[in-house]
Symmetry: C2
Subunit: 404 residues, 2 copies
């Protein structure tokens, strides 16, 4: 059997008939090149938002089961349209919804996890040299209910299919042509990376690089699926994401990222006793507030804890913390929502001392004040004032990439 390639196309790549035709051409071109193609597609353009609005017009807290019945129509529409477009060009294709493709998930409606995929039906079609178009983002639970996979769901579907079908590659088509050393919209001379490893991509994704959801990268790493992020508009090479060998001549850092959707909270004057962090973050976790960076330090007999959250969780978090002031035992609470997070990522920094100081040097030269520093093995993050964020990003990018 020819190699199987899984190709995933997001909502903007299939938002109108012309774009769908373009996607059909990409698929057919690869098919004619003696490949077996499994296409995975998302809902067209803003279809999902339109469906969500429809639900909220009727019920402000719809049950998650019914929401999934509703939302799954989005991809179901796309699979039929794309299959029709392929058939028009004279190639045999067949569409499968999540349940038809037997993508079995748990029952966590709205954010379900794939548990199993029965591949028999898909293989049967591929063996007939049919192109198979599968709805991303959706599955079916053990009771026969429709489920959806939540954010980044179509990528997850594509990667899971690539894994179970033992595909040669999983290609993620987007409106950018790959992964860049920094967002090309901000940093004009940023460079496209020809390859990047899973861990770096994971940090890039979780830092808001926006190309792939971190859950997808995690899955690709776990099952060692080779990914390529590439353009659905231009026919050029993208960025390969795989399990690279560590290379001595590797670039020092892989990229610079920026995330402005953050707010910082500091708890001042905590008693120097065990349990302060646990009490603080368990209260927030119970209300499903995701905390990003956490740093804690100590002065004499007092501790301070600072952490970042998404901006829209700020008010709720302050309310929770103030309510529990006597349990957590802090003296004062401070917050700041005018900060942005700038990070550099790269496995190269492990074996290269001086990366952090180079980053701080770049910021110092631009007279940018650093509000917080946090580091991990392959990432260094700083918080700066949002008004300085773009300048900071450009300075850091220049420092690392123009001298390299």
């Amino acid at each position: 059997m020819p190699d199987i390639i899984v190709k995933k196309f997001g909502g903007t790549s299939v938002s109108n008939p012309e774009k769908i035709e373009k996607v059909a051409n990409i698929i057919i071109s690869s098919y004619k090149n003696n490949k077996n193609i499994v296409g995975v597609v998302s809902a067209q353009g803003n279809t999902t938002d339109v469906l969500i609005d429809k639900a909220y017009e009727i019920n402000s807290s719809p049950s998650t089961r019914e929401m999934d019945v509703l939302l799954s129509c989005g991809e179901q529409i796309t699979i039929s349209l794309l299959t029709m477009a392929i058939e028009k060009k004279g190639y045999a294709a067949v569409s499968f919804t999540g349940w038809q493709a037997e993508i079995i998930t748990n029952s966590n409606f709205g954010n379900a996890r794939i548990q199993k995929i029965n591949t028999e039906k898909i293989y049967t079609e591929l063996n007939k040299r049919n192109i198979v178009i599968i709805a991303g983002f959706q599955g079916i639970n053990e009771f026969g209910d429709i489920t959806t996979l939540g954010r980044g769901g179509s990528d997850t579907t594509a990667i899971a299919l690539a894994c179970v079908l033992k595909a040669k590659k999983c290609e993620i088509y987007t409106d950018v042509s790959g992964v860049f050393t920094a967002d090309p919209k901000i940093v004009k001379n940023s460079k496209k990376l020809s390859s990047i490893n899973y861990d770096e991509m994971f940090e890039m994704a979780s830092l808001g690089a926006g190309v792939l959801h971190n859950r997808s990268v995690e899955m690709a790493k776990k099952y060692n699926v080779e990914l390529e992020v590439k353009s659905s508009i231009e026919n050029i090479e993208g960025t390969i994401i795989k399990n690279e060998d560590k290379n001595l001549e590797k670039m020092l850092i892989t990229g610079v990222t920026k995330d402005s959707d953050i707010a910082k909270i500091s708890l001042i004057g905590l008693e120097n006793k065990r349990g302060a962090a646990y009490k603080t973050f368990s209260k927030l976790a119970k209300e499903e507030i995701n905390v990003d960076i956490i740093i804690q330090n100590m002065n004499e007999n007092e501790k301070n804890i600072s952490f970042t959250i998404s901006k829209n969780n700020l008010e709720k978090s302050l309310k929770i913390l103030n309510k529990n002031k006597n349990i957590i035992k802090f003296k004062n609470i401070l917050c700041d929502k005018n900060l942005s997070k700038i990070s550099i990522v790269g496995t190269g920094m492990i074996s290269n001392p001086g990366v952090a100081s180079k980053m701080f040097e770049a910021l110092h030269e631009e007279k940018i004040n650093i509000h917080l520093i946090s580091t991990s093995e392959i990432k260094i993050t700083v918080l700066v004032e949002s008004k300085d964020a773009k300048k900071a990003m450009l300075a850091i990018h220049k420092k690392f990439f123009n001298e390299f």
Copy 2:
């Protein structure tokens, strides 16, 4: 277990959030009255047309399999929204698509026939006193493909469900409040029938009364399912359709109908040999042209055949007939597309001679010329010029109902 009532709501009854709420209220009110409710719904308003347009923008002759994948989203959207509306009011409900409700059909995509319905899942939900909302118009074939049932499909779903679930009644909610002696838009003083039998309804439906598709009536008759056609707007009694005993005091006729979407074709000067009708209508049938009324008569050694078809089939039919002129052997062909069909229907006419003459009298009094007459046991049809159709209908209605 409480009695099961199947309630079917068409596309106009669920076209916006307010109407969906109204439907939820109708269902809940009956549920509270100690009934188990199975709701069957169509796609909202013009959703199906929007989806069809989407397909044709991409492929002018899409495969019927993919068309069914696409169109089935219409009802899937409605079932989730209606279920959310019921849940909002605090009642437990669950939605099922055609495949979830296990409505098994043959593989005739776009016009599939229901072969079997597995009732276990539905009974399980009803036994828990849940309201069950099922997508009309759709099913699944033995291979797991999505199918749709074609015109009148949601009515068919509702009636089939009423049959297999041994429901007490199947209520068809529409934007009219029942079956009338004539179209209330044309005949202002037409009367709503409190009941009508299947055969009469069948003739009314096939004559364009527009409330129920004849395929649905046929099915209800076959399985002896009691139907009620009623208003989704006003809470009033509708028209019951059932297997009535023949009643001596029954009304002479049940209703008057009009259909303007017809064209008449006459083949003049056919040889007086066997096979002329067969040759004519087999050629038309092969091209899927439905023929309605057929009359044939003979003068000396020649036969003439006249028949009616839908207006949009006129050109195609003329082309087919002219191409086969030497096989069918006619001398001349005539056609007229400015005619309308007026019919009176009623089992009462079987035992009451003089019904036909009364109809002709009404037309004569209005100086309306009759172009063709055709009669069956419970129906008399005439063709008149379209400009006279409304006048004809009013005159006949007055003759029968105002004197009754």
